[in-house]
Amino acid sequence: MAESAVTLTTPKELERVPLVTNDRKHTWITDKVSSIVEERTPLWWWVAFLPCSLIALIGLFCIGYQISNGVGVWGENKTVGWAWDITNFVFWIGIGHAGTLISAILFLTRQKWRTSINRAAEAMTLFAVVCAGIFPGIHVGRVWMAWFLAPIPNANGIWPNFRSPLLWDVFAVSTYFTVSVLFWYTGLVPDLATLRDRAKSRVAKYLYGIFALGWRGSNRQWRHYEMAYLLLAGLSTPLVLSVHSVVSFDFATSIVPGWHTTIFPPYFVAGAIFGGFAMVLTILLPARLLYPQLDDLVTRQHVDKMSKIILLTGTIVGYAYLTELFMAYYSGNPFEKFTFFSARMGIDNPGWYAWAYYVMMFCNVISPQLFWIKSMRTNYIAVMTVCMFVNVGMWFERFVIIVTSLAQDFLPSSWRHYSPSWVEIWTFVGTFGIFLSLFLLFMRFLPMICMFEVKLVTPEADPHHEPKKEGQH
């Protein structure tokens, strides 16, 4: 776990803004966070959940429809073999980066402010990865043969192609999902024990009890627990960077102009953090509005810090966009130049999807610049607006990369427009339904904020009389 708090020895002028405002006590934290789960289901929850689950069902119907009919119900064609499916996949997997990033990287970098948002962000990660996982699953022509992807010894004596970026994807995404679940669940155990101990109904007691695994907060357990958490954070950090790198390999290792770009891994990772944080804020800000009791835990400081990260990563992404253009120009390769300057920017030629490029540019590069202004970073409306732009922009980034590059590649004879079908659109909308439904269920049944970690960053958590201890963790 992080270094001991240093409040005592820190000079007054350097003292940090408290992470939990209003000097809340542990019981207060427990009560407030648990109350979300324990209180009667609020009306707004049903109002939110029912449409979301309905949309999710529509999405599931579309998936079933697509599987039973064939990929042809989408709008893809001989030239544009991937479109919304992989765009959505990369979009969701990108969003799925924020949670683990907050839990792992910010943990390793001792960013204590992460404690109040990491749980929700991790949950969001999982749900986003669930949504992401749907698309590569269903985009294949023969879903029922997808087990060929698994390296199982078989009577055919044939193995998957370990050189294929798509197989790397299978490994990366499934590993990422698995490790994220483990990480998330490990973090949940002490809080589940809290709920277990507070639960009134027998069913809840049993259910929380089962999943709390009999946690009793003993120091002999905490000792290993903290080490495990540290190790998982240490493992997740390269993992989270690798996942989007591997996803970017799908494109970077190909030869399609606009895909074949060496800067993709860092560019994709930055984009993923960017989009992920925007989505975290998109979810957290309304949640905070609905649960005013969380005000002291999720503070303006959090929003401010996350906005700063959005600004940083947005600028990295913008830089990557410019680098791409420069590389295309400097390569002198007419196919590359065409893809970037004509197909994407629409300069001097039919850029079929140039509008998407400019939507992307505005949303991802221009709109976050607002966060240079401090007042904007703490203005929830402004933050929410920018985050919505970023969500849209990041989807378009993937759309631009995938569809624009494919639609107009080497042989002009094969250039082909693409437009989505209703099935594609509703499948994508449906994943939002799945995502939000899962998140609402999570809010309803699991502690949205990691109570034990928040308690840990309160001043009381520090054994005052022990000034400084060796940082063995």
């Binding site: 776990m1 001991s4 006590k25 542990h26 019981t27 427990t30 390296p151 004596g157 193995w159 192609n161 370990f162 050189r163 970026p165 790397w168 490994f171 990366a172 590993t175 698995t178 490790v179 483990l182 490990t186 024990a193 809290t194 277990r196 101990d197 009890g209 089962i210 695994l213 009999g214 009793r216 907060g217 003993s218 120091n219 002999r220 357990q221 905490w222 000792r223 290993h224 627990y225 080490m227 495990a228 190790l231 998982l232 493992l235 997740s236 390269p238 993992l239 690798s242 591997v246 390999f249 034990f452 970690e453 308690k455 840990l456 958590a461 520090d462 054994p463 009389h465 201890k469 063995q472």
Partner: protein, 181 residues
């Protein structure tokens, strides 16, 4: 609770993490070994206060990770180089094809490590253990809220119901209670 029950140990509650830490040091100094402190969150420095060393969880994780790397190496190389080499994109069958396998080697390393971490954690913490005598103590449910406890087990050689109760009260424990199994 009418019938006779085996004694598990003595529990005491403390006000704060700081108080607990001090008390723990004393219990440690008193030479107890089968005892534990229970806190709502990890209290830093408690390991030392209890006389415990660094967690050795990282060792199995290292081994697990190494097995992961090895598995991935074999998994990728044996089919692609050994039992079913196929001409794919004009790429070689030999060691030069290694870079293509890095992603899978990396992912499996992480996967195996993570699984080892979690399973080793469960084993080392003896979890899941849904029944535990301390749960018989009503007050103990506050351990997941704001309660700080020390529980000295009866199987400790130095355990004596009266002396230990006195010691716990002496180090600042309140609600000292006999916990039955």
């Amino acid at each position: 609770m009418a019938e006779y029950r085996k004694i598990y140990g003595l529990g005491a509650q403390f006000e704060s993490a700081a108080a607990l830490m001090k008390a723990a040091e004393k219990i440690r100094d008193a030479g107890f070994s089968k005892w534990d402190v229970h806190t709502p969150f990890p209290v830093h420095g408690m390991d030392k206060a209890m006389g415990l060393g660094k967690s050795w969880l990282s060792t199995p994780v290292l081994i697990g990770g190494a097995i992961g790397t090895l598995t991935a190496t074999l998994l990728t190389f044996i089919p692609s180089w050994g039992i079913y080499p196929m001409i794919v994109h004009g790429k070689p069958f030999n060691w030069a094809t290694l870079p293509a396998f890095f992603p899978i080697m990396f992912e499996l390393t992480v996967l195996f490590s993570a699984f080892t971490t979690v399973f080793a954690l469960l084993i080392m913490n003896q979890l899941p253990k849904w029944y535990h005598p301390v749960f018989n103590w009503e007050r103990f449910s506050r351990v997941t809220d704001d309660g700080f406890f020390i529980v000295v087990e009866a199987r400790d050689a130095k355990f004596s119901e009266t002396k230990t109760r006195a010691l716990l009260e002496e180090v600042g424990g309140s609600h000292v209670t006999l916990i039955h199994d």
